[in-house]
């Protein structure tokens, strides 16, 4: 398979009456010249490291080297445990985990790029949360990672998954689309619904620029991971309810590419525009780097 179209993946899966994950696993085994078990084993390692990252960051005194971030995953967890959330424990837990993985990244902890380090919180947060809530076993979560990666490969092939190339829509946006796809499949949605969930999640973040304060992967990155997880739930809920994206997913991905191409360099990871150019960001920059 060439991974140049999400619709095509959905079509083949529907035709062969299999899940997207099964299709991708089989194809990757052929391409990597390895057994399916071996590939699943490597994916299991990724899943374990992801799970650890969604826990490691939950610590009240956590601080990054720059001092800009840390401790927010703990605050979110407190709110969930004390029943102070608006949307209930599922979203609250996902937000906690997304913040945890991203804070772990900012604090030099171990994370799994998914698809990048900057967006490492979104997919793990969503998967681990529904894994716990729906009592799924790791086998199911591992399979969902194949569906998520297929979406990521298409985006990487047809647009970009790097903030420096396509803005944050390409990093947190892609991660969100990957997570939405995984959610729909885990919930028993059809491959077509997977496609719609990807389209809906991406449409909501089109145009998002990459503007990290002081060039550090902390502000706004960490909170954007929380947003990316929430966005994945929104898109999956809509798609599972049978709501369709009016614009087909591959056209959305193409739109993301053209928008990324139009973005000024100041808005693509150079820390020269957007939030990075605000007076407060400049003040932080001075504090950190002198």
């Amino acid at each position: 398979m060439k991974y140049d179209s999400v619709s095509e993946l959905c079509r083949i899966a529907e035709e062969e009456k299999v899940r997207i994950s099964e299709l991708v696993l089989k194809d990757q085994a052929v391409q990597m010249e390895k057994s399916e078990e071996e590939i699943k084993g490597t994916m299991r390692t990724m899943l374990k490291a992801m799970r650890a990252s969604t826990k490691e960051g939950i610590e009240p005194g956590k601080r990054s080297s720059s001092g800009l971030s840390g401790g927010d995953a703990y605050k979110m967890q407190q709110a969930v445990e004390e029943g102070r959330t608006i949307c209930g424990p599922v979203l609250g837990k996902a937000l906690t985990k997304a913040l945890s993985a991203s804070e772990t990244n900012a604090c030099m902890g171990r994370v799994v790029a998914a698809p990048t380090a900057g967006s490492c919180g979104i997919l793990p947060a969503v998967l681990m949360t529904v894994g716990e809530e729906w009592e799924l076993d790791d086998e199911q979560l591992v399979m969902a990672l194949f569906t998520a990666s297929a979406v990521g490969m298409v985006i990487a092939n047809k647009a970009s998954i790097s903030g420096a190339e396509g803005g944050c829509q390409a990093e947190c946006g892609s991660a969100s689309a990957m997570a939405a796809a995984a959610l729909v499949e885990l919930n028993g949605g059809t491959p077509a619904m997977v496609g719609h969930a990807c389209a809906i999640s991406l449409k909501s973040v089109l145009g998002l620029v990459c503007d990290p304060v002081a060039g550090l992967v902390e502000v706004p990155c960490i909170k954007r991971n929380a947003m990316g997880a929430a966005n994945a739930f929104v898109a999956a809920e809509l798609a599972l309810a049978g709501i369709e994206s009016r614009i087909p997913v591959d056209e959305v991905i193409h739109a993301m590419k053209t928008i990324g191409d139009c973005m000024l360099p100041a808005l693509k990871e150079t820390a020269e525009g957007g939030l990075a150019a605000t007076p407060t960001a400049k003040k932080y920059m001075k504090q950190i780097f002198g």
């Binding site: 590939i39 490597t42 994916m43 990244n105 902890g109 998914a114 998520a148 998954i161 990957m178 902390e218």
Partner: protein
């Protein structure tokens, strides 16, 4: 052609592959060139590394590499404490250097035997590195294939002797370069090979007359 593990993975230490993984690898490379446990390290950050190393934790990453840690080692963020406990003293400076990649660092390591080595390397993105200079001699090592670094006296016939050893052991050379500061002085031979190399071969090369040191640098 992309595969699933280009999208999910690698398992890595944050916050960014060029500031963490790349820096760890340069440090580790320098340590293996020294070939023994370092007890002192002078670290000079150049360019954008000089401006941003604190916020990105590049200082910790470099020290971690010098201590021999890998790029996904969970102890990287505590490396300064590990160094203090393990008897490695270090200093950080920011230095100027013309025409270098923005993320460059110059390392001077001293081992327990008094031996020193100077290594200049750049973190060129995505965790990839380039070693630019060893003891003043220009090299270009990507760390993508196994490399042999041989420091020897600049006398005729050295390349032949070394490549005979490799040939006799069925090792294929894919790149070789030789640099020296002055004629008849110390020369540095860099050989990149296909596949792996047995540690025993290093011993054989090391025992060639006029070879001062030979180190195997595994792909990183």
């Amino acid at each position: 052609m992309l595969g699933v593990f280009d999208i999910i993975g690698p398992v890595m230490i944050g916050p960014s592959s060029s500031h963490t993984a790349g820096a760890v690898r340069i440090g580790k490379y320098a340590r293996s060139i020294l070939g023994e446990k370092p007890i002192r390290a002078w670290i000079g950050f150049v360019g954008s590394f000089a401006k941003t190393y604190r916020g990105h934790g590049t200082d910790k990453a470099i020290i971690a590499g010098i201590l021999g840690m890998d790029a996904d080692d969970g102890r990287i963020r505590d490396s300064l404490d590990v160094a203090a406990a393990g008897g490695l003293s270090y200093t950080f400076e920011t230095i100027e250097m013309e025409g270098m990649h923005p993320n460059t660092v110059s390392l001077e390591l001293e081992g327990g035997s008094g031996r020193t080595v100077n290594v200049i390397g750049s973190s060129v993105g995505g965790g990839n590195i380039l070693i630019n200079r060893i003891n003043g001699a220009e090299v270009l090592i990507s760390g993508k294939s196994t490399a042999l670094i041989i420091i020897h006296l600049d006398i005729p016939g050295m390349i032949g002797k070394v490549s005979n050893v490799l040939g006799d052991n069925g090792i294929n050379i894919n790149k070789i370069s030789l640099n020296r500061e002055e004629k008849g002085g110390i020369a540095i031979m860099t050989i990149e090979i296909d596949g792996d190399i047995e540690p025993a071969i290093q011993q054989i090369i090391q025992s060639i007359p006029n070879v001062l040191s030979a180190s195997i640098l595994n792909a990183v």
